[in-house]
């Protein structure tokens, strides 16, 4: 892996007047003044925007160098809990970028999109099958966007029944931050309930929390504690009996793929992070895709557009087909290119492959947890099976050695491993949430274990060295306080 060891200049620092990637510029057929003659003077731009003037090679070299300042799945083991950083097969990118798919305008007639729409329809059907839901809509563009669609459907369902008081969304305290933020965005009130010392929901607290104002509950299962919610059927019954609906946050779907389905557990609505479970790229923070699945009672409320099939023709279902829809969440069809990648991945996995995802993700996580426990690290829930991820708490190291979870995380970078998720979930102190995924080999896991053991030894003998890690990146720990107080959000030319 070629990590760049030197910082890279800002692109504007390469800029020289009258330099450019001329081969990319269109040939002018008329002078600019002649073209713009019919645009009123008052509506024209006076001063050129601040964009770099650089050659094509300078552009390619600059951005290639920037890429080399990143860790990525292609270059590093990336055991980031709750993020499912598995291998993104190259075939998914290659075949989603065929000219027939890339060149298709979103508003082009359905007659010129039957190949694309067939993929989308089959993707909907496959996602229904693996989740046990009755309908799937593909347009939400990220997990949080899918959550929004889900909670909006829950609200629409209650409203359609005239059940107007239901505006409370219950979330366990360990939930992703997006869950309460989503509930707020949908105009709901958030009610948090505790989790017991085994990582399960406190069912008694849940019983006390539900009532005539309960719109629903948002749950991840396996939970963010990395364990399966064993009393899920009881939880479902409590919420349903109170008149609420169950929302499944699909962040951890990878753990149970092919083993158990949210629809069978009693969930009414689910979002799937296709960029996690179905291996579409994370792209440095997006694009994702947050398809939603629903039970029969929520079918009328799905966000549009949805792909329908009449005979052998595929078509978009719109407001006319779904008059009670929560509406349109994207200008066109969500992240269509991401959906194509998920489709290709699912077809390559096939029926047997789906089962193997959950199995080997779970095997890798349990192996890693067992070996780390044997090496003296403290699992947060030692009596439980790991799901596809698990938590190690560095509480003891923080107390005895003054070396925190964050210090372990930063020192791991020096050993060539991306850090696990740190300080989430919030209820476990000094928390490292570790998710290896099924595509990592035993050797990769062993390398990570060796690094953790080595860092533990360093923490015991030279704690300050660990506390000041990383030592081998192009930058050391960054001053976040200064970043927020002395805001520098855009580059400015130095005055001549």
């Amino acid at each position: 892996m070629a990590m760049l060891k030197h910082p890279e200049k800002i692109i504007f620092e390469y800029s020289r007047p009258k330099r450019g990637a001329y081969g990319q510029w269109p040939t002018e057929k008329q002078t600019a003044n002649a073209v713009a003659a019919d645009i009123p003077e008052a509506l024209r731009r006076k001063q050129a925007p601040l964009l770099p003037e650089v050659s094509e090679l300078e552009v390619v070299r600059h951005f290639t160098r920037l890429s080399q300042l990143n860790f990525s799945i292609d270059t590093h083991f990336y055991p980031l809990g709750s993020c499912t950083m598995k291998y993104n097969p190259k075939a998914c990118n290659q075949y989603a970028m065929l000219p027939g798919f890339l060149g298709r305008h979103p508003l082009a007639p359905e007659s010129t999109g039957q190949g694309f729409l067939a993929c989308m329809y089959e993707l909907q059907e496959m996602l229904k099958e693996v989740t046990g839901m009755q309908g799937v809509a593909l347009s939400p563009m990220a997990g949080a966007h899918g959550e929004f669609a889900g909670v909006a459907m829950i609200r629409a369902y209650h409203r359609a029944r005239g059940d107007l008081a239901r505006n409370e969304i219950i979330v366990p305290i360990a939930a992703h931050g997006t869950n309460p933020a989503t509930a707020t965005m949908c105009g709901c009130v958030v009610k948090e309930i505790p989790v017991n010392d085994q990582g399960d929901i406190d069912v008694e607290a849940l019983k006390a929390a539900v009532g005539p104002n309960t719109a629903g509950i948002m749950l991840t299962n396996p939970s963010t504690c990395g364990v399966f919610e064993r009393r899920i059927k009881e939880v479902a019954k409590v919420v349903h009996d109170a008149g609420g609906l169950l929302y499944y946050d699909g962040a951890n779907l990878n753990a149970i793929l092919g083993k158990v389905r949210p629809g069978d557990m009693g969930f009414d609505v689910i979002h799937m992070n296709l960029h996690k479970t179905f291996s579409t790229p994370h792209g440095g923070g997006g694009p994702g895709a947050g398809a939603v699945g629903v039970s029969a009672r929520l079918l009328p409320f799905m966000p549009i557009p949805v792909v329908g099939k009449d005979g052998d023709r595929y078509r978009w279902l719109s407001e006319k087909d779904l008059p009670q829809s929560i509406g349109r969440l994207s200008a066109f069809m969500g992240n269509a290119g991401v959906l194509l990648r998920a489709y290709i991945y699912m077809r390559m996995l096939g029926r047997e492959g789906m089962h193997r995802v959950g199995e080997f993700a779970t095997l890798n996580a349990n192996y890693l947890m067992a070996r780390l426990a044997q090496a003296g690290f403290d699992p947060a829930y030692p009596a439980r099976r790991a799901s596809h991820e698990f938590i190690i708490t560095a509480k003891r190291q923080a107390r005895d050695l003054g070396v925190t979870a964050m210090d372990f995380a930063k020192r791991l970078l020096d050993y060539g491993f991306h850090a696990p998720t740190t300080y989430f979930p919030l209820l476990v102190p000094e928390c490292l949430l570790i998710e290896p995924t099924e595509t990592e080999s035993k050797e990769a896991l062993d390398g990570f274990i060796d690094a953790m053991i080595a860092i533990q030894k360093e923490a015991e003998s030279q704690a300050e060295f660990v506390r000041s890690a990383p030592h081998t990146m192009t930058v050391r720990r960054l001053d976040d306080v200064r970043a927020a107080r002395q805001l520098d959000l855009t580059w400015k030319p130095v005055a001549a």
Binding site: I11, G20, Q24, K29, A32, A42, L43, K46, A48, P49, L51, V60, F63, S67, Q68, L69, N70, F71, S72, I73, D74, P89, Q94, G100, G103, L107, T112, Q114, G115, F116, A118, E129, M141, A142, G177, G187, G283, G284, G285, G286, S330, A331, F332, G337, M348, R351, G353, M354, H355, L363, Q374, L413, T439, P470, L478, Q486, D488, L489, T490, W491
Partner: protein, 456 residues
């Protein structure tokens, strides 16, 4: 299982370390009655050769028709360097840059993007992007409500010259929080001050102005912005980034400038791809930076005083503020921001202006060629950029269907969204449409309309 590296030996050793007999034992905490044995509805696996053949057939089925639709997604030239670099695994398969030291490439790139998009829109600060141009209008509206402390009403004015799908996204996204979007009819095809007069003096949070508007017409942005500010209304600009190479940036509209600018990065090196992934942009003045949704990157220093980049102002975001966050958004469209930043670097100020001019010239040529066809006329005679509304002498849908059969995607049928315009179609040409392309369209349209007359 195509992507698992485990050998039978590996599995055996790993189970031994765990103290389990078989993989199945690892699922013993899941209640038995919930377990499934098969996924009958999933087809058998395809290897790469097989999926390659299937996808090639599906893509070929859709063909590569000659496209004349814009309507928020534009068919521009995409330099080869963009996706050659963007598809590198170090960008493609990296996560959100939470571990700053291991993500300096992505972070610096976003900082450069923020610089370019701020300057292009004439604003001071940018976030790291949103989902798309539609969600950007929705988020800008919610942001305006947070920013405009004197307004209590949560009312946002949306002229009908704003993209109809953007209006729908805004309603679906923000109405749950009590935001009211009020449509302002624009019968003349542009937003006239007379359309706004009835709102003067009312408590309104913001007005959205699209420039060029959905019909391609240029709005009188200075007068409208000043009117809004005089009435204590914030201005949200929804703009096409290509157009900003030659059109006045939102930051200079009227005497104070727009308050928030947003739009879609799709024209900047992002393929049409049936509607996504694209990236929404959002910029504003420094005074509103803490009201912005989404990620923001800042330049700072490390413990040695060396320059570095980090996510900043995270106290606004869901992973810290949970239910009190400015938005639930937790991604940006990182890969598309990568593409857009490379695009803007390759084009530079002059190249981008040339693209804008060539698009405009091609559209003028298209309008001239099509309006020479019998049965076609221009709907609004108004300064425009890059896009125009034509009216046909008969219903649009069958004409577009016939054109599609001839390999031409002839425009966006406006009769669903704007029935009052009659048989109207929105057409667009970019720098990629040649004189021969335009002639092919005009000829096909003439033949199609002639055949329709004969059939009638």
């Amino acid at each position: 299982m195509p992507f698992n590296p485990h050998t039978p030996d590996d599995v055996e050793q790993m189970l031994a370390a765990i103290g389990a007999k078989k993989i199945e034992d690892l699922f013993d905490e899941i209640p038995k009655e919930l377990r499934i044995e098969s996924l009958a509805g999933i087809p058998e696996a395809l290897n790469e050769m097989q999926i390659g053949r299937l996808m090639a057939a599906r893509a070929a089925q859709d063909g590569t028709p000659l496209n004349f639709i814009g309507a928020g997604a534009y068919d521009h030239h995409i330099p080869s360097a963009i996706w050659a670099v963007t598809s590198r695994g170090e960008f493609y398969s990296a996560y959100t840059p939470y571990q700053a030291e291991a993500s300096q490439g992505t972070l610096q790139l976003i900082y450069e993007y923020q610089t370019m998009i701020s300057s292009l829109t004439g604003m001071q600060v940018s976030n790291a992007s949103l989902y798309d141009g539609g969600s950007a209008v929705a988020e800008a509206s919610l942001m305006a409500i947070r920013a405009h402390r004197k307004s209590r009403a949560q009312r946002i004015l949306v002229p009908t010259t704003l993209h109809p799908n953007y209006r729908k996204v805004a309603v679906a996204t923000a109405s749950g929080q009590g935001v009211r979007f009020e449509e302002v009819p624009c019968p003349k095809g542009f937003l006239a001050l007379s359309d706004l007069e009835k709102f003067a003096g009312e408590d309104i949070t913001a007005l959205v102005i699209q420039q060029p508007n959905f019909f391609g017409a240029l709005e009188d942005v200075d007068a409208i912005t000043d009117w809004a500010h005089a009435n204590n209304i914030l201005v949200i600009a929804s703009v096409n980034p290509t157009s900003l190479a030659i059109l006045k940036p939102p930051g200079e509209w009227g005497s104070r400038g727009a308050d928030i600018a947003c739009g879609d990065c799709q024209p900047l090196g992002v393929p049409l791809s049936s509607g996504g992934p694209y990236a929404g942009f959002l910029t504003t003045r420094m005074e509103f930076v803490r009201q912005m949704p989404g990620r923001i990157v800042g330049r700072t220093v490390d413990t040695n005083g060396k320059q570095g980049f980090a996510l900043t102002l995270q106290a606004r975001e869901q992973h810290i503020r949970r239910g009190k966050a400015t938005s639930n958004i937790c991604t940006n469209q990182g890969l598309l921001v990568t593409a857009a930043t490379i695009y803007l670097s390759l084009l530079g100020p002059e190249g981008l202006a040339r693209v804008a001019n060539e698009c405009h010239r091609a559209t003028q040529e298209l309008v001239a060629a099509l309006t020479r066809v019998k049965g076609v006329k221009l709907a609004f005679d108004r300064p425009r950029f890059h896009e125009a509304v034509l009216q046909l002498d008969r219903p649009v849908a069958p004409v577009l269907a016939e054109l599609a059969r001839r390999g031409i995607v002839g425009g966006y049928d406006l009769s669903n969204d704007y029935p009052e315009l009659g048989n109207a179609v929105l057409v667009c040409a970019t720098e990629t449409r040649t004189a021969a392309d335009i002639k092919a369209y005009a000829d096909a349209l003439a033949e199609t309309l002639k055949a329709a007359v004969r059939a009638a």
